[in-house]
Each structure stands twice: as C-alpha cells, then as structure tokens.
C-alpha cells in the first residue's frame, strides 16, 4: 500500500514537466527540490537522532564549493610557500567529491561536537557554518570571495551508446534533481529501517537505556552525521551546477533556517515530512511574491514557524498519520490505543 503511494508520488512528480510549461515555476520547483534534499538530510539528524544541527547549510555550501572548484579548476597559495594547482575535471567527478568531502566534514564535526548536546551542540554547529562562511569570504584566491565563482559548468552524464549528455535545460535539471531526491529518500528509508536506524531511535528516546544494551553512542551519531552531511553535499553540488554561480551568501544562516522550517512543518522523524514541508515552504514565496513585499514574506515565514510550533508541534505528516490511525484503530478494536497510536504514527512515517 505504502509502496503504491510512493510510486504514485514519484510518477506524479515525474509528470509535472509534461503539463507545466512556465519557466519561473519550473525554476522554483528545481530549487525547491534541491532544498528538499537538504531538508531530508537534516531530518536524518534532527528527526532520527534528535540532534538539532543549525549549521547544516555548511555541508550544503561545502558541497557546492567543492563541486564548483573541481569543475572550474583553481590555483591557490597555501602557507609555507606551497601552491596547489588544479586542472578542471568533469562536473560529475565534482558531484562525487562534493559528497565525499562534505561527508568527511560531517565526520569531523560529529566527532568533535557530539561530546556536547542540546543547546551547546546547536551553537557549535552554527559556529562551524559561520567559520566556513568567513573562510569562503576571505580566501579570495581560492573562492573569489564576494566576487563569486561564475560560469560553473552544467553536469554532463556519459550515457552508454548515446555519448555525453550535458544537462543545461530546466527540464533536464528537473529530472536530475528528482532522481537524486528519490535516491536520497530510498537511502534514508533503508537506513532508518536498518539495525543502525533502530540504534539511532533508541538513542533519541532513551540514551541511558540504549547505552546499557550496548549501542555505541559516538559511532552511531557520527555515522548519522556523515550520511546527513554527504547528502547535503550532494544537494549543494546540484545547486552549484544548476544556478552556475555561487558566492559566500550560500552559507547564510537563513538557509539553514529554511531547511529547519521545512523539516519541522512537515514533521521531524517522518520520512515524508521534509517533502511535504519543503513543497509548502519552497513554493510559498512563489504565491506570496505578487501580494507581499519581500520583508513581509520573511515576517510571514517567522510567524508561520511560530504558529506551527504552537498548533502542530509534531508537524503535518505525523499529525495526519495519527488522525488516520485513530480512526482506523477505533473501527478495528478499541484496546491498545495508546500504544498503537505512537507506534503506528512512526510506521506510517
């Protein structure tokens, strides 16, 4: 049943370019899709391990810069008179490197910061993102600083028997983003339903108990951070090759906040949550734009976040799932409501 819904959803998304011709809306859908991939990776940390990373955009931005620099080439000085010169490589290599290096950064941040939890973890992640932003801004030789990296090539895919295909149009990029999003979704789905995923949830719900049954806290959390950062890096790479220009503003805190809003609205700890929340908040500006000034849009953003936390603290998807399950379990049997409600909400997610 759920597999059916998933396939139908993917087919529905795949059919969008067939009936939607408006380039502005297509553009909004592509960037929304990229941010949804970022939100899904944030959800892996926030929803399944309970760690709120407010520096998540750092991994996204690192992915974008790594991918862009790999495909553009660079010539930058290092301390002690060393120079590092790099000839341009194909963008697809940049995409892979973006995942690897963002994942590596996730490993380092995870290793260092999981010693602290709660508010301290949040502040470490924010600081990490700001330091990376300041490096991108000040290491002009490598990143061009505020002048931005321009003319980033589009991704080229080698198709067997058909030669090379360069993804330049919105249509091609739409399907690329959709494919990566589906791959990320399946990966996260496999991950949270594995032994490892159960360890993560165990840690989130009762750390003392989880440790006492032999779950390695640091290893589990660090692995989650690596996966999460890698997926965010992939999203960043897609962003760089689609927009084709990046500057240090990609690291702005507001971008992390956008992802957090997507996850919280849709429902943290629910696989479909970031997709639902992402579609709402990614496309909201498109509909608000004709009727509101940009500042007013941001006021609305902040207001909506507060209202959702007050009204639907668990997010849209878990709340709906709970409502459906309640109806279903009342018809079936009235017995273990308290248990099945909680359990079913999770299973449905």
């Amino acid at each position: 049943m759920r597999a059916g819904i998933a396939i139908l959803t993917v087919l529905a998304f795949a059919s969008v370019p067939l009936w939607l011709r408006d380039p502005y809306l297509m553009n909004a859908l592509i960037t929304t899709g990229i941010f949804i991939i970022g939100a899904m990776s944030l959800n892996l940390l926030l929803g399944f391990t309970g760690q709120l990373s407010l520096g998540h955009i750092a991994f996204f931005g690192i992915g974008a810069y790594v991918s862009a620099l790999t495909s553009l080439g660079f010539d930058a000085g290092l301390p002690f008179g060393l120079r590092i010169v790099h000839e341009p490589w194909p963008p697809i290599v940049g995409f892979v490197l973006a995942i690897v290096i963002a994942g590596l950064c996730g490993y380092l941040v995870g290793l260092l910061s999981f010693r602290v939890r709660g508010a301290y973890f949040v502040i470490v992640t924010i600081s990490f993102a700001e330091v990376v932003r300041l490096v991108a801004l000040n290491w002009v030789e490598l990143t061009q600083g505020p002048l931005a990296l321009t003319n980033i090539p589009s991704i080229t895919i080698g198709l067997p028997g058909l030669g090379d295909l360069t993804l330049r149009t919105k249509l091609q990029n739409y399907y690329l983003v959709l494919a990566v999003a589906v791959a990320a979704y399946v990966l996260i789905w496999r991950l949270v339903h594995s032994h490892f995923g159960r360890a993560m949830r165990g840690l989130m719900e009762n750390e003392t108990l989880a440790v006492s049954v032999g779950i390695d806290v640091t290893k589990t959390l660090t692995l989650a951070a690596v996966m999460s950062a890698g997926i965010a890096g992939a999203a960043g790479s897609l962003y760089a090759h689609y927009i084709r220009i990046i500057d240090p503003e990609v690291f702005a805190f507001i971008n992390t906040v956008t992802m957090v809003i997507m996850v919280i609205t849709g429902g943290k700890g629910s696989l479909a949550g970031p997709v639902v929340g992402g579609m709402i908040f990614g496309l909201l500006p498109v509909f608000l734009r004709p009727i509101m000034a940009p500042e007013a849009q941001w006021i609305a953003y902040g207001g909506v976040l507060i209202v959702i936390l007050f009204v639907l603290p668990r997010g849209i998807v878990p709340s709906l799932a709970q409502r459906f399950t309640k109806r279903w379990s009342r018809a079936e049997t009235a017995a273990p409501v308290a248990f099945s409600k909680r359990d079913a909400a999770k299973e449905h997610a």
């Binding site: 260092l112 508010a119 301290y120 949040v122 924010i126 990490f128 700001e130 006021i299 902040g302 976040l305």
Partner: protein, 290 residues
C-alpha cells in the same frame, strides 16, 4: 608596543559592551534554559531606539540610553509573556525554534520599518580623540566604557543584593523548591527575560553610535553573546564579564596581527575550542548565578 597598548584600550571599550550582551544572555540561558535567538534583535532594537530618540524626536543623547533600556525591558517582557509563557515545560528545541521564528519576524520587521540603509547617530562628543601618550581614544568610546561599567555594576548589585536577585538565584538553583518557598517563578522568568533584553538593548544603544545602525547588526552580536556565555559558563555573571573582555581581546589581536577579515571568526573559533577542550566553560565553578 604602542600598537599593542592601543589594542588593549580598544579591547576595554569593546569588552564592556560585550560583557553587557553576555550577562543578559547568560541570565536568560541559565535561569530559564532558553536559547534566546531574539537577543541580537533586542540589540538592534536598542540601537534604533537611540537613533529615533536622538534624530527623529530630537531628545538629548544622554536620555536616549535610559529610554533604550526601558524599551528593551518592555519588549523583552512582551516576548516572554506572549511566546515563552505558553510553552513553559516544553523541550528546549521547541522554545529555541520559536525564538528563531520570532527573530526572523522581528528582524524583517526592522528591515521593513527602517529600511536596509545603514544609519549613523551624531553624538555631542568632540571629534578630536583624547591622546594619552602613545595611545588615543575617542570621548564617545570612553563614555561607552563608563556607561557599560555602570550598568554591569548595577546588574551585579541587583542580582546579589536585592530580594528579586535572591529569588532569581533561588530559581536558577532549583525552580521547584523556589516555587515551594513562595517565589513566584513565572514572575521571575518574565523579569529575567526583561532584564536580559534591556541589557542587550543597552549594548546596542551604546555601540550603535560607535559603528552604524542597520537591521542585521544584531546577528553577529548574538553569536558573540553565545560565545561569551559559553566561555564564561552557563549562568555565571562574573564569567560573562571576563568572557566579554577575552573575546574583545581575541578580536582585537586577531584583527591587528592576523587579518581583519577574520576578526569576526574569533568568536566562533573560541566557541569551538572551548566546547572541545572545556565544555563547562572556563570559569564554571558549580554553575551558579552570581
């Protein structure tokens, strides 16, 4: 050597306002366990009150500071009553996200009302700086240092000598027991948030005329305040004061001897280093207010 002395003087001026920011945040963090993302907005708000009072209402520069403190107090109390009181008892992540929402809405509100163009405040102080041998310091900066020092002393006395301060310290140690002893914990929370906010507004009103005033000025101030709180230890006022001066020193030396582009990175590097090597803060005795 004279260059180093100049950095030390600048550190004193900057450190005083940083300490104000840090005290406000450490009180709120320590007593209410709320990560207050609106702290930076209150700082911006204080600076704009300064601008409005001096330029649009034409009132005296020296009167603007107490007005900014009162306005920050009122806005802080309003935020606490509207947003935090209904969420009492929910987890720290929820209140943190609500504060983020409030921060975005309020900062965009400031942008909407006052526009993105930076504003500067004219002050009654002479242009020529005070020259003391090898170093010089402007009169405005001296005033900022004196006012900040006075506010720090007043806050310290209030926490340690008054009945309200005693109730705040009791609530910090154990809010259940404090409540059983007849402390109105809800009132203490509102007062704490209002006092912390008024200190942030005061810091903004003091530093606003030194630099320029724009809607996003509070963002960096907020992160610096977090750095100071982490450095000084949760809820530790003396720690926040020392942390403020350490951060100011690190920034001055970093800007002077490394690269001015990385001036603002110092705060973040300090946060990361402290949390890695000494997560309880440098001056954590037993995490107490006072």
């Amino acid at each position: 050597m004279s260059e180093f002395l100049q950095h030390l003087i600048n550190m004193l001026v900057l450190g005083g306002t940083y300490a104000l920011l840090g005290i406000g945040l450490t009180l709120i963090f320590g007593i209410m366990n709320v990560v207050n993302f609106t702290h930076g907005v209150l700082y911006t708000f204080g600076a704009y009150i300064m601008f409005i009072v001096v330029h649009q209402l034409g009132i005296n520069f020296f009167l603007a500071l107490p007005l900014a403190v009162v306005a920050g107090w009122l806005l802080g109390a309003a935020i606490e009553l509207i947003l935090l009181r209904p969420l009492r008892g929910s987890d720290i992540d929820t209140t943190m996200l609500v504060m983020i929402g409030a921060w975005i809405a309020m900062q965009s509100g400031a942008l909407w009302i006052w526009g993105g163009v930076a504003k500067s405040v004219t002050t009654p102080f002479p242009e020529a700086p005070l020259v003391l041998g090898p170093v010089s310091v402007s009169w405005l900066r001296l005033f900022v240092l004196a006012a900040a020092a006075m506010l720090i002393v007043v806050t310290y006395l209030m926490i340690n000598r008054t009945k309200l301060g005693c109730a705040m310290r009791a609530t910090f140690q154990d809010h259940d027991t404090a409540s059983l002893m007849g402390v109105n914990v809800d009132m203490i929370y509102t007062s704490t948030f209002a006092i912390g906010s008024s200190l942030a507004a005061a810091a903004g009103a003091l530093l606003g005329p030194v630099y320029v005033i724009f809607p996003q000025m509070g963002d960096l101030a907020a992160v610096k305040a977090f750095a100071i709180v982490i450095l000084g230890g949760l809820g530790n006022i003396t720690g926040a004061v020392i942390g403020g001066f350490i951060l100011a020193l690190a920034e001055e030396l970093g800007a002077g001897y490394v690269s001015s582009g990385y001036r603002d990175a110092m705060g973040f590097l300090i946060i990361i280093a402290v949390l890695i090597f000494k997560p309880t803060g440098l001056f954590a005795r037993s995490e107490r207010v006072g």
